[in-house]
């Protein structure tokens, strides 16, 4: 809606919806990631990666939530997020489903950059 953001002449602002509208979101990134790192599918969101994450000790980076967002096609919140990973690889060792977590982040970051340049 064009009216979102700043306060209008009625003295209040209208924020954007936080609803994930699955029929409006775009799952290109998900397809890209799943194609290049099939183990991405295996995540069952236990959160082990997030718990052990080195970057997560310092910032909001949350791989478990990132996977969820990618699956839902909710990319906006990830643009910043993906750049925070240090690729240290701890998550790789704790993942109970053997997801190649580091590559998921790397590929996702790549996909999101490409999305920005309409190369997806």
């Amino acid at each position: 809606m064009m009216s979102e953001g700043r306060a209008n002449k009625f003295g209040f602002a209208i924020s954007r919806s936080r609803l994930i509208d699955y029929d409006a979101t775009d799952r290109k990134v998900r397809e890209y990631v799943t194609l290049r790192e099939p183990s991405f599918r295996l995540c069952f969101a236990c959160g082990g990666c997030t718990a052990t994450c080195t970057a997560g000790q310092h910032t909001s980076f949350n791989l478990r939530r990132m996977n969820t967002y990618i699956r839902r096609g909710e990319i906006e919140p990830l643009r910043e997020e993906v750049t925070r990973c240090m690729l240290c690889g701890k998550c790789l060792l704790v993942c109970p489903r053997g997801v190649n977590t580091r590559n998921v982040v790397a590929v996702a970051a790549e996909a999101i950059r490409k999305l920005g340049r309409n190369e997806l």
Partner: protein, 632 residues
């Protein structure tokens, strides 16, 4: 006399390759960075020159390295290279000595027998002829092996041999044709004139007995010349280009030029110096343990040489460095891959050259903005400490190692600060391995800042991955030590009193610690001090990768498991009580792959510590911290 027309293919080829080599080498030289140019110039008029000649003789001609690894293969290469070399040298003497005039064109040496069909009937010439035949036979024997290797590689003790492009095939065929055709050409000529020595003479006589030798001879002289000509012409576009290029490589290397972190003449030379011999394929665990057969260094280099998109190949490597250890040509394969992993390095190199040779200045179109950014990291104010202990991310997943290190340092009375007790920040090595140096720099700066502020004189880490990057990419005043080194130091200076454990153990050299940083002896010294150390079939510079390597971003967990299982099997053949490593990542990876107990060297040492009661009595103060000079 138009009957000499047949030498034109040879001459064409020869002069082409000579001119080409001169041009190409000047270009390479011009493209060198200033310092490298100077190195090369200095090298050319100094000891390096002699070293190079020696190396050329031993490696390019005798192929000593290959000999060591595999005599049969070595002989094959030697007979071809060295044999041919001798043939040329003595052929020239022959022409010069017995020819009608001195200083002939090369063709006269190569086709000597054609020009002097009756030569070598008696006296010294006869012996010389015998010698020449002997050389030819020597080469032919190598050729025979080459043919066998081509069709049944196993016989030459090689697991895989590299695939060929069509130019390679033609070049190869012509190469193979050279000597048989020379043999036949000379034989027929000798047969016709009743000359020749044991090989060409007898064979000639035999052939002449039922064939019109004089008429057939020219055919094979033509073939001989054509084979040579084609070979020379195809040389630059075929894998055999490595033969001349290797000479440049040797000169450059001996002059002290290294790969560095961007594409350059040197990387080009290395690329072309690869003979695709396939030795790297044989030692690659990805190949024989994980069944991935298309990413090995030979293919990587070939991709570079043919300027293909090899992103997938480049990424899919453990970076364990085993191939580099065995490369007969001594190509710095690790650094080359790292360069290639950096997004768009090759394009930039091309652009740099373009800018050098065209007036128009073009900018890299590639987006070089960092993919990661760590602005969120907050500066820290660490407490002062003489010894700073950095466990490393991975070590936090093996708390037993941390506990062991604390015990050891406490028992030795070391005053230390635990830098990353609350997690800390990654050392940056994983990012570098992913080709993200800019990003890694951010982390390096963050950590360096803390280390400097702490005023530490020794920085001890439990993780070889961190260790390597601390040593190579951090600018620090503190001496960087892996905990195996540090423990060794504590033992040497007697501040650590240890009992002896009656256990048989085998030691696994972690890639980044062993091949990566050259630390082989300290861990062994420490282990032997507290337990019985078994030999491993693959150790030190040929030690295996555990499969957990962070050097590979794309390898699946299943494949990693295969590599780990294979490596563990190899290490535990002598059924040791414990498998000791010095890397948390190796420890974790092996733990899933073997029944044998896997421990870190620190854990082993901690187990050898006397019970608290015993040490309570008298404890020597640690001097490690103050004695840094001795280590530094």
């Amino acid at each position: 006399m138009n009957s000499e027309l047949f030498i034109t293919p040879f001459n064409l080829g020869l002069y082409f390759i000579l001119i080409y080599s001169v041009v190409r080498s000047t270009v390479w030289f011009r493209n060198l960075s200033r310092p490298d140019k100077l190195r090369l110039q200095r090298g050319f008029f100094g000891r390096p020159f002699m070293d190079s000649l020696r190396e050329i003789f031993s490696e390019s001609l005798l192929h000593r390295k290959i000999f060591k690894k595999n005599p049969l293969l070595g002989y094959m290469h030697m007979s071809l290279a060295f044999g041919w070399f001798l043939l040329i040298v003595f052929g020239t003497f022959e022409a010069d000595f017995f020819g009608e005039k001195h200083l002939n064109p090369p063709s006269h040496a190569i086709f000597f027998r054609w020009f002097n069909p009756d030569h070598g009937s008696e006296g010294f010439a006869r012996i010389y002829g015998f010698w020449m035949d002997l050389l030819l036979a020597f080469i032919l024997s190598g050729l025979l092996l080459a043919v066998i290797k081509r069709f049944i590689p196993r016989m030459m003790g090689m697991k895989k041999t590299t695939k060929h492009t069509w130019t390679d095939r033609i070049a190869l065929t012509s190469l193979w044709l050279i000597f048989p055709s020379r043999l036949l050409a000379e034989s027929f000529t000798c047969g016709a004139h009743g000359s020749g020595s044991f090989l060409t003479g007898n064979m000639g006589a035999a052939l002449a007995s039922f064939l019109p030798a004089a008429e057939i001879a020219p055919v094979f002289w033509w073939l001989y010349s054509l084979a040579l000509g084609t070979f020379f012409l195809l040389l630059p576009v075929s894998r055999y280009f490595h033969i001349p290029v290797e000479l440049f490589l040797i000169f450059m290397r001996n002059s002290g030029i290294t790969t560095g972190d961007r594409h350059s003449s040197y990387t080009e030379v290395q690329t072309h110096a690869c003979s695709s011999c396939g030795v790297c394929i044989g030692v690659c665990q990805m190949s024989y343990a994980a069944g991935i057969h298309d990413i090995q260094s030979a293919y990587f280099i070939k991709g570079l040489r043919n300027d293909r998109d090899i992103a997938a190949i480049t990424a899919n490597c453990l970076m364990c460095g085993r191939c580099e250890e065995v490369c007969p040509v001594g190509i710095e394969l690790g650094p080359m891959r790292l360069i290639e992993r950096r997004q768009g390095e090759r394009e930039d190199h091309k652009l740099r050259l373009a800018e050098k040779y065209t007036i128009t200045r073009r900018r890299s179109t590639l987006e070089k903005a960092p993919t990661q950014s760590y602005g969120y990291l907050e500066r820290e104010e660490p407490e002062k400490a003489e010894v700073l202990f950095f466990a490393g991310c991975m070590t936090h997943l093996t708390p037993s190692v941390i506990v062991a290190m604390k015990k050891i340092m406490d028992s030795a009375g070391v005053k230390y600060r635990f830098m990353d007790e609350q997690g800390g920040v990654c050392c940056g090595r994983p990012l570098m391995l992913a080709g993200r140096d800019k990003e890694a720099r951010e982390l390096i700066n963050h950590n360096s800042d803390i280390i400097w502020k702490s005023g530490a004189q020794i920085l001890v880490t439990s993780c070889p991955i961190c260790y390597k990057v601390f040593r190579e990419s951090y600018y620090l005043e503190a001496t960087v030590m892996h905990h195996s080194e540090f423990i060794n130091l504590l033992i040497e200076e007697g501040s650590l009193r240890l009992g002896y454990l009656h256990r048989k153990v085998v030691y696994h050299d972690p890639c980044e610690l062993g091949r990566g940083s050259g630390i082989y002896d300290e861990p062994r010294a420490v282990i032997s001090y507290v337990a019985e150390l078994q030999q491993a079939s693959q150790e030190r510079n040929m030690s295996l990768c555990c499969g957990g390597s962070l050097g590979n971003l794309t390898l699946s967990s299943e494949k990693r498991a295969l590599i780990a299982a294979d490596a563990a099997r190899t290490l535990t053949v002598a059924s040791p009580d414990e498998l000791i490593t010095a890397c948390p990542l190796c420890k974790k990876t092996f733990a899933q792959a073997t029944e044998t107990k896997v421990s870190d060297i620190a854990e082993l040492v901690a187990a050898a510590l006397p019970k608290p009661a015993e040490i309570a009595a008298k404890r020597r103060p640690a001097r490690a911290a103050v004695r840094t000079s001795r280590i530094g």
